[in-house]
Symmetry: C2
Subunit: 327 residues, 2 copies
Amino acid sequence: MRLMRRPKGMLAEGDLVLGEEAVPEVREGQALARVKYLSVDPTMRVWMATDSYLPAVKIGEVMRGGGLAEVIESRHPQYKKGDKIVGMTGMQEYVLIDAQAKMPYQKIPSIPFVSDTLFLGALGVTGITAYFGMMDVGKPQKGETVVVSAAAGATGSVAGQIAKIQGCRVVGIAGTDEKCKWLTEELGFDAAVNYKHADWKEKLTAATPNGVDLNFENVGGEIMEAVLSRMNLHGRVVLCGFISGYTKEEPAQANLGMLIVKRLKLQGFLVLDYVSRFTEAATELGKWKMMGKLKDKQTVVEGLEKAPEAINMLFTGANMGKTLVKI
Amino acid sequence: MRLMRRPKGMLAEGDLVLGEEAVPEVREGQALARVKYLSVDPTMRVWMATDSYLPAVKIGEVMRGGGLAEVIESRHPQYKKGDKIVGMTGMQEYVLIDAQAKMPYQKIPSIPFVSDTLFLGALGVTGITAYFGMMDVGKPQKGETVVVSAAAGATGSVAGQIAKIQGCRVVGIAGTDEKCKWLTEELGFDAAVNYKHADWKEKLTAATPNGVDLNFENVGGEIMEAVLSRMNLHGRVVLCGFISGYTKEEPAQANLGMLIVKRLKLQGFLVLDYVSRFTEAATELGKWKMMGKLKDKQTVVEGLEKAPEAINMLFTGANMGKTLVKI
């Protein structure tokens, strides 16, 4: 599936185009893998639009994206047939792995009762993003109040659970009552607020009687401003994403006055800076998963041709937990 | 001079009104001081408009503000006639000092060749703001590139000189060629950029060949965004003020996308949090002043009735260095 046009707003027909091409031949030093699941992430919308922390995907290129694949043929010293791998497969059914791949693939282990797709979600890059954003940047302390926006998303849901594990009061912000129910009844959030209700700011206030010490921000704009207005003096804000702005011409803006009035500390971070410590995060997340402290949910869309719809779901809020495309 | 109306935009006639009232009688435990100079600061415009880190000045109240005064009569155990003091005198000619003043007054020393008004500027709250913002929050390291906005203002001019003392490359942003000349030729800034020139962003780029490690932000909005776009990965931003938004209905907004792309750290601060350490800052600033490393300039407007004009000068940029009203 190739990017044929830079999208405006939500993805439209013709932005990403699926074609049929010959499966590449495997030469000495290469392996061929069949992609089984694609990871669907908000940041992909940024890659389609503009240079950012990675260059924009070029027009005509296979769309960049993470995936889970199985090696079906190998003349590569590191992979053998049957190996399951995760990495930047791109949005395609077959991926050729070169000796000199720019971003390495990780083999995933077979663990009883753990589905492979978890390595695209809670135990994969999304979970690892939540892990470092929370543990390394946010540093939640026992008893603090933590607010997570886009809390029912792949990263937010893990970030909130990590803050619970650290002994915090955790409040999630999400866009449906069903999501809020999932957060409080299954993931153990102390409260969840549906920002689509007219009185949501009053509910946020009620849910944070001691103010907010730490904000794990995934959304930006009006939602972020409402959380900032609840922050305690000297509070911290982890800037993970600004999904509210990704489909707009104008990027998400925010009124920064509160940052001085409340003497806040904001820090932007990217999981790419932590590549050398991925194993540390995956180990910790895996341990919490085994102990039943880390729950997850997946929204699976079937068929590569549906990938644009799956990406749009992230922006309409139709997804819950980790969104995947099954090929 | 009392606040009679919340201003819209620049101060207009009737917002602040000067009247004549009886000089208060001095009772046991009180002292009376005659105010000689008023400190004119951007934050006063915020106090007129809205609750912030301090409650808004109430309609009908004497306008809040710092000043330099001389005690002319005293039945107060801590003050004697002739003492010179700085503190929150309010915008008025006489101030009664109670035993229970909410904010204490500081007696200022007589130092040869040091004018009293310096204790409202480089050695006063403005200089102390620059000191803690730079030294405690920004922590400039030798060899780093530091950008200061509103660099010819009372705080910016001191902040930039402190960064120079720490061995940094310092670039100022200001709004006239005269201010830029003062910054580079007298204060020792390495470069200064006039943001009113059409090509100022190119000039900022040229002046920061190694990017920007630390931004001391006084302005917000478009100027801040231009500096953010020059920041190096993992750079720091000290949020001292957002003067570009103080006279507008809508507060200064900023596009935060760059904060994640560049993994920046922003921190808002207020000098009020450092009251217990003011002596430390004043001592250090005084030492630099004595060594000739800290230069200053004052814009003095004569007559209490001109105070609203003096405040407006901060927003039109007609001032340079510390702005004072001489009564």
